[in-house]
Amino acid sequence: MIRLRTVRQDRLGRQDRLGRQGPQGRPAAGACDAHVGPELAAAYARSAGTQSAGTQSAGTQPAGTVGGTAGAPAGDAPSEAQCWSVERHVEHCTACAERVSAAVRATGAAPALARLREDVLARAAAERADPEPYSNGVAGTASSDPARSADPAPVRRLPGPGGRFARRRARIVWAAGPALRGPWLVSLVLLAAAVVCAARLTGNAAAQPLVLLVAPVLPPAGVALCYGRYADPLHEIAASTPAGGLRLLLVRTAAVLAVTVPMLALAGALLPAGSGMPGLVPVAAWLLPGLALTLGTLALGSFVGCRYAAAAIGSVWLLSVCSAARGLSARELAGALTHFLAGPAAQCGWAVAAATGAAVIVLRRTSYDFQESF
C-alpha cells in the first residue's frame, strides 16, 4: 500500500513539474532526447557558472538570447528552453551528464561547487546520525523499514500525551465502533444501575434470579445493535472494506462482551443475596450460557442476519425461561436456575453448544462477506 502511494506521488510530482515547465519547455521538447554536444555543454556550463556566481539572474538571461537555437555558437549563452532540455536530458544520460559536469568544472564555478558539495555531504551525514527532525517527511518513502516508518508521524497527529499509546487507544475505540458509542451502552448502564438500586432499596430476593435469567440474552442483543446495515450507519462503507464481514462482526462482538460481562457480573454481585444461590453462581453462572447464545446468534446470523438471529434466539430463550419460571417463588426459581445454568451437566451442555456455534461460524466464515443478503 505504501509502495503504491509513493509510486503515485512520484508520478504526480513529475507531471506537476512538467506542467510548470509548460510554455518554455514545450517548444524545445523535441530536443530533450538529443545528446548534449560539447559546444552546448560549454555554453550551459558558462551560463550555470554565471548564475551560481550570482552575476546574472535567471530571469534576465533569456531576454537577451531569445534567438538562440539548438546549434547556438559557442560564444552565446543558451536560451532557457535549451537549459531545460539539457537538464532533462542529463537526468537519464550518464555520458552527457559527465560531459556537462566536466564543462562546469572547467569554469570559474568549480570552487563554489566543491564547497556546496562538501556542505551537502556534511549535512547528509548529520541527518543520518539524527533522523528525527526529518522523519515526518521521510515517513512515506521509508516503507521498507517498518520499525522506522511505524514511529514518526502520530505524535504530531494525535493530540494528548503519549502518541503511540493514544493511537492504540484510538484504534481500540474505533474497533469497538458503535458498540461503545451508541445508546446501547448508555441504556445498559442505566438499566443495570436501576435494577441494582431498586433491588437494594426494596431488598427483593427475586432480583438476583431475574437478572440471571435475562443476562445471557444481553450480549446477543448488543451484537444485533452494533452490527449490520440496520444498526451501523457505516455498514454500507464497511461492507466494501477488507475488514467488513466476519472480522468486523467478531471485533464488535468482543467489544460488546468486554462491556457486558463485567457490568453484569458486577450487578450480580451487588444485588441483595437471599434467594439461596450459592457463592459465585449469581456472578458467573450465566457466562457460558451467554457465550453460547452469542455464538449461536453469530452462527444463525450467517444464514438470516444478526438482527433476525438475535431476535429469534433471544425470544426463544426468554419465552422458554419465562414459561418455565411461571408460578415459581423466588427461592424455587433460584434453585431451578442454579441447576439449569450452573450444574455440572448444564455447564457441559452449554460448553458443547458454544463449541457448536463456533464451529458453524468457522464453516460459514465466507458467507459474512455479503451482509446485504440478510
Partner: protein
C-alpha cells in the same frame, strides 16, 4: 465544453498497460484469458430482488479512466455499483476486479474479495456516520477498515481530506457539516487508500456548481491511473469529466461509447427527426435536451426502448457488448 475534448487525451486509453507492477500488493490471482487492462469486467451480471429485476445480463469491461454511468431512475445504476463494490452478491453472473473473481464461491471468492477490497474505493449513494466523529476520525476509521498500516494512514487521511478541499475542516465534527461537505467527506474516505478501482454513486449530488467543477478536476486526475466509475443523473457531469459513458436502462446496457460519440448520436437523431417532422417548433417528436449530449442521451434511451439494437460506438469491446446486452 473544451474539457470534454481534453479529458480523453489526459485519461489513458483502453490499451494502456504500462502500470508498474506492485510486488507489495496482496495476492492477486492472475487469471489468463482476460486482457490485463480490464480492471473491471462483468459478464452476464443479473441482480433480482423479490420480484423486480434490477440488472439483466449486463456485460461490462472497463479500464483506467473515468467512466460515467447514466440512466433514468430505477435503471440499475446503484445495483450495478453495489455488486461491483462487493457489497452485494449478484443473483447470477461473474465479476472480475483487478483480475480476481470476486463472485467466486467459498474460500476462493473470500480471498479474492479481501484482496480486492484493499484496493477499492466506494462512495455509497447514502451513508451515515457516527455522531461524535470528526472528519479526520471518520476517514481514519475507514482507513483502518481498509487495513492501511497505521504509519501511512495518518498522512493518507490528511491528503485525502485535502484533495476534496476540506483541509480547513478536518477537525470539525461531521454532523456540523453541510450536505455537500458530507458528500466530500464520503469521497475522501473512498480515495484514502489510493484505490485502484473507485466506484462513486452520485458523487455530485448535493454539491454546488463550483464544488462540482473541483470534483471533476479531481476525477480527471484520479482517472489517469485509476478505474473510476461514477453514476450520475447529470449528463453534463459525464460530458465534462468522463472518458467513457455507459447508459443503463431497465437493467440493460443501452449504450456504450465516449461522451463525444453520445453527443454525435444526439446530432444524428436531431437530423433524422428534423427530416421527418419538419420545423423545430414542432419538435415534440424530436429528442429532448438542451445540449448535444443530452439529446444523445435521450436518443439512445428512446432507441433502446423502441427495441432497436443498442448503440455501441466503435470500441474494441462493442461486438461483445452488443451480444451481452441483447441477451
Amino acid at each position: 465544453m473544451s474539457t470534454a475534448r481534453t479529458a480523453p487525451a489526459a485519461g489513458p486509453g483502453p490499451g494502456r498497460s504500462g502500470r508498474p507492477a506492485q510486488p507489495g500488493e496482496p495476492g492477486e490471482p492472475a487469471e489468463s484469458g482476460e486482457p490485463a487492462e480490464a480492471t473491471v469486467a462483468a459478464t452476464g451480471l443479473t441482480v433480482r430482488y423479490r420480484r423486480a429485476t434490477a440488472l439483466d445480463g449486463i456485460r461490462l469491461r472497463l479500464g483506467d479512466g473515468v467512466h460515467g454511468l447514466l440512466g433514468p431512475n430505477g435503471a440499475g445504476k446503484t445495483s450495478l455499483i453495489r455488486v461491483l463494490a462487493t457489497v452485494a452478491s449478484p443473483t447470477s453472473g461473474e465479476i472480475r476486479l483487478l483480475g480476481s473473481r470476486v463472485t467466486a464461491r467459498g474460500a476462493e471468492g473470500h480471498r479474492a474479495r479481501t484482496a480486492v477490497r484493499r484496493r477499492l474505493g466506494y462512495l455509497p449513494q447514502q451513508f451515515g456516520y457516527y455522531p461524535g466523529f470528526t472528519v479526520r476520525e471518520f476517514v481514519s476509521y475507514v482507513a483502518w477498515l481498509k487495513e492501511m498500516p497505521g504509519s501511512a494512514a495518518a498522512d493518507a487521511v490528511e491528503r485525502a481530506v485535502e484533495r476534496v478541499g476540506l483541509a480547513d475542516r478536518i477537525d470539525a465534527k461531521v454532523r456540523t457539516l453541510s450536505g455537500g461537505m458530507v458528500r466530500r467527506v464520503g469521497i475522501a474516505q473512498a480515495v484514502v487508500n489510493d484505490p485502484r478501482v473507485l466506484l462513486l454513486d452520485e458523487p455530485t449530488a448535493g454539491l454546488d456548481p463550483e464544488q462540482r467543477v473541483q470534483l471533476r478536476e479531481l476525477l480527471r486526475e484520479l482517472g489517469r491511473d485509476t478505474t473510476v466509475l461514477l453514476s450520475t443523473h447529470l449528463v453534463e457531469d459525464v460530458a465534462a469529466a468522463c472518458t467513457g459513458v455507459t447508459v443503463l436502462d431497465g437493467g440493460r446496457v443501452a449504450y456504450q461509447g465516449t461522451p463525444r460519440e453520445l453527443a454525435e448520436a444526439g446530432e444524428a437523431a436531431d437530423g433524422g427527426s428534423a427530416a421527418d417532422g419538419g420545423s423545430a417548433g414542432g419538435s415534440a417528436a424530436a429528442v429532448a435536451g438542451d445540449s448535444p449530449i443530452e439529446r444523445g442521451y435521450s436518443a439512445v434511451l428512446r432507441a433502446h426502448r423502441s427495441g432497436a439494437r443498442p448503440h455501441t460506438a466503435g470500441g474494441a469491446d462493442s461486438p461483445d457488448d452488443r451480444a451481452g446486452s441483447a441477451r
